[in-house]
Each structure stands twice: as structure tokens, then as C-alpha cells.
């Protein structure tokens, strides 16, 4: 008998899955630094993520936090920049640095068998970095050149400006660096920032993967004796000053064949009770490949290679953002279609079938996102750094399972109003 290809195979709805966030193990080093650990995985590899309260919210001059973070491994009291990198790379280990708004991280990826060789180096860079003048000069020069290049790109300009409209240039979420900022930095700025926010800073560690049996002792030896977590680091609060003008059109490159479109409105952080249900609404709107924005603007009209909406969830505030690059002649039409989709969501109840699809998709994707030790610890890290607990995880799942079309409509009426959105096109 021929197989029936018309009728879909029976599925188990993802909303019926029992999705668990596997718990972490926790221990403290001698100096009080807390370590959150998730052990598992099929490969003999691990990651160590040291998170400092050293994001750009703490800097007094633009770019100091990022530059300090970047130059951590460019020289210590016993090793040159090259010697440090070469030592990590000899063991196939990777040391990455990232600086964000509130936190700055130093992340090590390495083979389990080489952990013992590389962890002392990690301790060294966070306690003995020297910030050589020459390294600073090279970074400045290359950073200015990178900026010149980025300023040619419409999407880069658009990303900076939309954040400035939302949060204001004086706020860490809204500010950005200009050429003069790079020139203004000197070694004293970096050393002072380093002493306060790394050397004697506040740190928390996340580890995941396959651990060597003596990992606790090794962390204690190389990190646990450092002068961390001794002084209180006060959280910096900056006022948000949103722009009053709502619509912007900017010509960055007259020859451009596309426009970078950003539509955004302020939105609360994850502690707000609307957040989980808003994620469902966002998925219907523009949060995945099957969303309304994608179906209409890419798959029906072909105006763009991709269009997405997302909830920007910073620690203290956020935004609801729509982002796309569209053909120059269809930018206006694209924006009109986005507003039409908002209107539809405000006025017409979402069909139960569409809502169920989105719920299944979200929970299936969540199951996939939690697959693997690095993914699990990364989820925990995102929660712990934002003062969220496992309750947030289970509550979100419950809301996704239970949310009804009427609530979606109500949320759209609260949040997806054309007049609340900043509108920017950079050509």
C-alpha cells in the first residue's frame, strides 16, 4: 500500500513535553568567589566563564571598560602579549573576552586534559595584567580603522542610533564610541579600572563540560587566593532619556541599494509579568521563520532577505525591536506592512491553530536550546546575572502553554501601537 503523504504523521505536542532545566552544582572558593557548575557532555572539553561587574555602566570615560577587557591578555608582569596568547594556543585553548553593559567576561574553552596547564594563566591575567603602552597604541589605531570601516555600513549606523533614541546617549544601553573616545583613553584610565573592577573586583564563575577530578582544588589554587570579592561594587544607575522625535531617515551612503530599517519601542525587562506572554506574541509577530512579518514581507513580497522582531532584554530595561534590510525602493512599503501586521494583531484574535503552532515551536526550540552542558550553564548564567531563578523558567513554560488568544490581543493593544515606535531608515 502506498504511503499516505497528504496526512501528517502523528506528533506529540511540544506543549506536552516535560521540559526541565537541570540544576547546577555550586561551591565557593576560599576568597568567597562562587562557582556554578554543570558537568556533562560527550566530549572531553570544558568552559570556564569568569564574570566581573566591569561592564561599561561602570566607566567614567567612553570605551574604558571595553578596552580594559580587551587588553587583559596583552601583557602581565611576567609575560608579553605574545607569550600569553601562544601559551593558551599551544594547548588549543581559547581565551575570549566580552564586555557588555553590566558585566565583562573572560571565557576559557579548553580540552579537559589541558585544564591544569592553562588555568594558572587565567589567574595571572586577572591579577597581574600590565597594559603596556605599545599594546594600547596598537589597539587604538586598529579600533579607529575598524570604526571607519563600520561607519560605511548602514546596519551598523542603524543599530547605534536606534539604541540612542531608546535609552539616550548618556545611558550605557544607548551610548557608543566615536573616534575621539579612542584617542582620549590613556594607560592610567585602564589601570585604574582594572584595579577596581578586576583585580579587586566582584567575580562569579560558571563552568561546564567534562571536569578534571581536581577542578575545585585547581580553581582554588589559581583563582581562590586572589583579592576578589573583598570590596563592595556599587551598582550604577543611569537615567533613561528617550528621544522625543520618533521618525528618522538618514542617508549614510548615497549609492546604497538597500535601507537598514529599525522600528523599536521601550519594553520592560524580564521581571515584568507581561514578559513571558509577550514572547509568544513576539514569535507570532516576527520572532521566527514562520512569523507573520517573515511570511508577509519576505515569503509573500520578497522585499527582504530577512526580517525579525525580538525583545531586547537587558538587565534594567529593554526594547521591542523590528530589524531588517530591505531594497531601497521598498523600504517605505516594508514599514507600512510592519504597521499593518501590528494593527492586525491588535484587532483580530489569533487563530487557535496558529497560536498552537507557535507554542509548539517555542517549546521544541527551548528543548533544543537546553541540549548540552554549555547551553545549560549559559541559561543559568543569564538567569543568575539578572536575578532570576528557576521559577522564571517554569513560569515562562506555563505561560507559553496556557496563554489564550484574548491575552495576545490585549498585549498587542498595550505594546504594538504604531505611535509608540521609533522608526529609523539608514540608506
Amino acid at each position: 500500500m502506498a504511503v499516505d503523504r497528504i496526512v501528517a504523521p502523528i506528533i506529540k505536542d511540544a506543549i506536552d513535553f516535560d521540559i526541565q532545566l537541570k540544576p547546577y552544582q555550586k561551591f565557593a572558593l576560599d576568597n568567597g568567589v562562587e562557582v556554578y557548575a554543570y558537568e556533562g557532555g560527550s566530549q572531553e572539553v570544558l568552559l570556564v566563564d569568569m564574570v566581573f561587574d566591569a561592564g561599561n555602566t561602570y566607566e567614567e570615560k567612553n570605551w574604558v571598560a571595553a578596552a580594559t577587557n580587551f587588553l587583559l591578555k596583552n601583557g602581565t608582569s611576567t609575560k608579553s602579549s605574545f607569550e600569553i596568547t601562544d601559551a593558551f594556543e599551544f594547548y588549543g585553548a581559547h581565551l575570549n573576552r566580552t564586555c557588555t553593559n553590566e558585566t565583562a567576561t573572560v571565557t576559557l574553552h579548553c580540552l579537559t586534559k589541558h585544564f591544569e596547564e592553562v588555568i594558572p594563566l587565567m589567574g595571572e591575567i586577572i591579577s597581574q595584567a600590565t597594559f603596556p603602552e605599545k599594546e594600547i597604541a596598537i589597539l587604538k589605531q586598529n579600533q579607529i580603522q575598524r570604526l571607519l570601516l563600520n561607519l560605511k555600513k548602514g546596519d551598523f549606523i542603524a543599530n547605534r542610533l536606534i539604541d540612542e533614541y531608546l535609552f539616550g546617549f548618556e545611558h550605557p544601553y544607548g551610548k557608543y564610541s566615536v573616534e575621539q573616545d579612542y584617542k582620549n583613553i590613556n594607560r592610567e584610565d585602564l589601570v585604574a579600572f582594572y584595579d577596581k573592577y578586576y583585580k579587586q573586583g566582584k567575580c562569579v564563575i560558571f563552568i561546564a563540560g567534562k571536569f578534571p577530578s581536581n577542578i575545585e582544588a585547581l580553581l582554588n589554587k589559581h583563582i581562590g587566593q586572589l583579592a576578589l570579592n573583598k570590596k563592595e561594587i556599587k551598582e550604577q544607575i543611569h537615567p533613561i532619556v528617550s528621544a522625543t522625535q520618533k521618525k528618522y531617515s538618514i542617508v549614510n551612503d548615497a549609492a546604497s541599494v538597500q535601507g537598514s530599517i529599525r522600528l523599536a519601542r521601550p519594553f520592560p525587562n524580564r521581571h515584568h509579568p507581561d514578559f513571558p506572554a509577550a514572547q509568544v506574541l513576539n514569535n507570532i509577530f516576527g520572532g521566527f521563520f514562520g512569523s507573520r512579518l517573515m511570511s508577509n514581507i519576505r515569503e509573500d513580497k520578497g522585499y527582504t532577505y530577512g526580517i525579525h522582531s525580538y525583545l531586547q532584554n537587558y538587565k534594567h530595561a529593554g526594547a521591542w525591536m523590528v530589524s531588517t534590510d530591505a531594497g531601497k525602493d521598498v523600504c517605505k512599503a516594508t514599514i507600512e506592512e510592519v504597521y499593518k501586521e501590528m494593527k492586525k494583531l491588535r484587532e483580530t484574535l489569533v487563530e487557535p491553530d496558529e497560536l498552537k503552532l507557535v507554542k509548539n515551536y517555542m517549546l521544541g526550540a527551548l528543548l533544543g536550546d537546553l541540549d548540552g552542558p554549555f547551553q545549560i550553564i549559559s541559561r543559568w548564567k543569564s538567569y543568575l546575572l539578572n536575578d532570576l531563578t528557576a521559577d522564571y523558567f517554569y513560569n515562562t513554560i506555563q505561560v507559553v502553554r496556557e496563554v489564550q488568544p484574548e491575552q495576545i490581543l490585549a498585549l498587542a493593544n498595550t505594546y504594538l501601537k504604531e505611535e509608540d515606535f521609533y522608526e529609523l531608515v539608514v540608506y
Binding site: 506528533i11 560527550s42 572539553v45 574553552h109 570601516l149 521566527f288 532577505y305 507557535v358 521544541g364 528543548l367
Partner: protein, 412 residues
């Protein structure tokens, strides 16, 4: 060591299964043995455009994505010069949905006129976004046509020109589909929380009834050995001068392949690599510089490209790169440096193999090369590379007559 089982259906479809019970997910990966290199030179960009059309509905299923999302799955695809690969990740309990969807679009597409019209536009926007509306976005178009005279690697997967994509007809689409998208020209890999027996049953049920096509015998023009150094000048509205050099290298089956890969690591792998240390840090001639290759099946290109520090002349920059190149030819590497790049490679392999998705991609790719088990032998092949092999391979590749140079000048 990635364990797997392998069988073949009567219609020629190769099936590989890798079980990992630690995950609740499964990955279904279908690789078609067709890439941009198989395109008609007058209709380039087709393999990639086709990848888009594969989501525009199949003979029995109007929309591909919807049922998959309903089953909690996600999918994507990519096209290279050598192959086209489709994959979905789905909760293992719903794996049959992926078989249903993938087999139906192998059986036949819906060939919807609307889908072709829209995807032509979407790909044109993709072309603009990545290759026109971006500084240096045309560099690789120019380099490929400079470095290759005969072999179809001379065009990009996105296509040689927008017009090729705009002119694609429904007849082109149908011909392409029935030539290449047949079970005997495909490899199905299933990884994750699955049993081989279950996969066998599902594969027979859903893919078994699809008829085999005429076997595709690839016969591509061989690139003649380059006999003279080639150069090209470009002037464009970019902020910085860029220097891009390529040298022809062996393909995936070349005995020097692993040594070549390690050469790119020695020169360009990370911030302790030679080009970064010497040309960015010590001499400060470049603000960024990379050395890499694409790992293509047929003979490919080894690339060095970098942006110059403002005020440095192209001549000085070129000379500095060539000095590093000469060094690797003339001075044998010490054992420690070789050990470093081998260690790095081991690490890359271990991290890559963490996810069932990457394992599926690798199994499919190595099976395309002839034997999926090659993936388990890769590391030992790297470990066999000696300093002398690196030097010898460097001498073969880094010859002036084998070099293509793009001088990309800033107008300002």
C-alpha cells in the same frame, strides 16, 4: 570517535545513523551532491536559488516549515560550491515528521510560480545585502574570476550576476530538480536519540518509494596550472586599502591537504599566529589580517587578506606578507610550533563534535568524500604531518607564478 551505522536503499539513497541517547533531540540531515560548481556558466547562482525554492512547498505538502514548527522542529540549509545541505532539528519523538517532509520534497517539489517569483526577489536582496551594499563585498567575485579561468569555482554560490538569478525560469527549476535531487544523488544522516532499526523502517517507508534518477556523472573542467602571477587593481568607495592574495592549493583528496591546512594555522590561526604577531603587532603594517582556505573538494585557494594601516603603501604591505611566506618556505618550523597547530586542530575537532547537528553535518560531508569514517581518521592524519612536510608543501604552493593578487584601493 563517532560511531555510526550505514545502509543503502534500493533507490541508491545512502543512510547513516549515529545514536546519542543523552539528548532528547534528533537531527535529520539531507545532503545533495550538487553545488554551485555544477551550474551552467550562463545560469549561475542556481544551486543556491534552488535551496530557497526547496522551502516553497512540495508535491503533497503546501508549506514545508509549518508542520515542522508544529512538531517543535527547526530547520535550515546551506549551499556551497560543492554541495547543498538541508537539516532539521526536532524532538526525537516527532522524528517521523522530518522524514515525511524531507521525503516529499525529494519526491517532487510543487513548482509553484509564486514561490519562484518571490524567491528570485529574496535572493536578489540577499545578493545586495552581502555583496553590493557592503564595503569590499565584491572582492571575492573579482578574486575568483582572477584566480580561476576554467573551473566553476570561478563564480560565487550567490551567482556571477544578479541577472542570472532574475532570469531563472520554471523549466530551469524542473530540469535542475530532476537531474540532481534524486535519492541516488543524496545522503541522509540521522543523529540523536534514535535507533538504527527505527531509522531503517522510516527510511524505507518514506524514501524507499522514490524513484532513482539517472546517475549524475560529474565532469568538470580542470583548472590549468597557473603559469604567471596575476594581479588586479580595484578602486572603490571604501575607507581602507585592502590586499588580498591567493595561491592555488590541492583539493580535499590531495596528499598535502592536511599540511596545507596547518600552514594556514601557522600563518593565520589566532593572535599568536605569525601574520598577526609580525604584521599587526611588531611591524604595524596591517590593522587586520587573515590566512585561510575553504576546504573545497576540488583544488582550492589558500588566501591571505588584510586591511592596511592608513599611511602604509600597498608595496610595503605586499613585501611584508611575502617575507612571511618566504620564511615558512625557507626555514623549517620547530617541533613546538607544529605541535601547537596540531593541538589546536584537535581542540577544534572536539568542540565541533559536541552537538548532534555538527556530527550530522560532518558524517554527511565525509560520506560525500567517499567514507564517513574518514571523520574519525582526520586527527591522526594531522598528527602525521611533520615540519618537513609543511615546508615542502609551502614550497609547492607559495610560488610567484601560482599567485593572484587583488589590490583593493580606497578612493578617498
Amino acid at each position: 570517535m563517532i560511531q555510526f551505522e550505514k545502509f543503502q536503499l534500493d533507490n541508491g539513497l545512502k543512510v547513516l545513523v549515529h545514536q546519542d541517547t543523552s539528548t532528547p533531540m534528533a537531527v535529520v540531515n539531507v545532503l545533495y551532491n550538487v553545488g554551485a560548481k555544477d551550474e551552467d556558466p550562463a545560469k549561475t547562482g542556481f544551486a543556491h536559488l534552488f535551496e530557497h525554492l526547496m522551502f516553497g512547498g512540495s508535491i503533497n505538502i503546501p508549506v514545508y516549515d509549518e508542520p515542522l514548527q508544529r512538531a517543535g522542529g527547526e530547520n535550515n540549509a546551506y549551499t556551497t560550491n560543492d554541495l547543498t545541505n538541508y537539516y532539521c532539528q526536532i524532538p526525537a519523538e516527532n522524528i517521523e515528521t522530518a522524514f515525511w517532509l524531507e521525503s516529499d520534497r525529494m519526491l517532487s517539489l510543487a513548482f509553484s510560480k509564486k514561490s519562484l517569483e518571490v524567491q528570485r526577489k529574496v535572493v536578489c536582496e540577499e545578493f545586495k545585502e552581502h555583496y553590493i551594499n557592503k564595503p569590499y563585498g565584491d572582492a571575492w567575485h573579482k578574486m575568483r574570476s582572477l584566480a580561476y579561468s576554467k573551473h566553476p569555482y570561478r563564480w560565487m554560490t550567490i551567482g556571477a550576476s544578479l541577472s542570472h538569478v532574475e532570469d531563472a525560469t520554471m523549466q530551469d527549476v524542473k530540469d535542475f530538480f530532476f537531474q540532481f535531487y534524486r535519492p541516488n544523488n543524496a545522503i541522509l544522516v540521522v543523529t540523536g536519540n534514535v535507533q538504527t532499526e527505527q531509522v531503517k523502517q522510516l527510511a524505507e517507508k518514506w524514501f524507499g518509494p522514490i524513484e532513482a534518477g539517472t546517475p549524475y556523472v560529474r565532469s568538470l573542467p580542470k583548472e590549468p596550472v597557473q603559469e604567471k602571477s596575476r594581479t588586479m587593481d580595484v578602486r572603490a568607495d571604501v575607507p581602507l586599502d585592502m590586499l588580498m592574495m591567493t595561491w592555488h592549493m590541492g583539493g580535499r583528496f590531495d596528499e598535502g591537504y592536511h599540511a596545507t591546512d596547518l600552514i594556514t594555522e601557522v600563518l593565520g590561526g589566532g593572535t599568536s599566529a605569525r601574520l598577526y604577531e609580525q604584521l599587526i603587532k611588531v611591524k604595524q603594517i596591517f590593522s587586520s589580517i587573515d590566512c585561510y582556505h575553504f576546504g573545497t573538494v576540488d583544488p582550492g585557494l589558500l588566501v591571505i587578506e588584510g586591511k592596511l594601516v592608513k599611511g602604509i603603501s600597498m608595496t610595503v604591505a605586499e613585501k611584508a606578507v611575502l617575507e612571511e611566506v618566504e620564511k615558512i618556505k625557507n626555514e623549517i618550523l620547530d617541533a613546538k610550533e607544529v605541535q601547537k597547530v596540531i593541538n589546536k586542530t584537535e581542540s577544534v575537532i572536539c568542540f565541533e563534535d559536541m552537538s548532534i547537528m555538527n556530527r550530522a553535518h560532518s558524517l554527511a560531508f565525509y560520506e560525500l568524500l567517499g567514507d564517513a569514517d574518514l571523520m574519525n581518521k582526520e586527527l591522526s592524519l594531522y598528527q602525521k604531518v611533520t615540519p618537513a612536510m609543511i615546508q615542502q608543501t609551502a614550497k609547492q604552493i607559495f610560488q610567484d607564478t601560482n599567485r593572484n593578487t587583488l589590490y583593493y584601493y580606497s578612493k578617498s
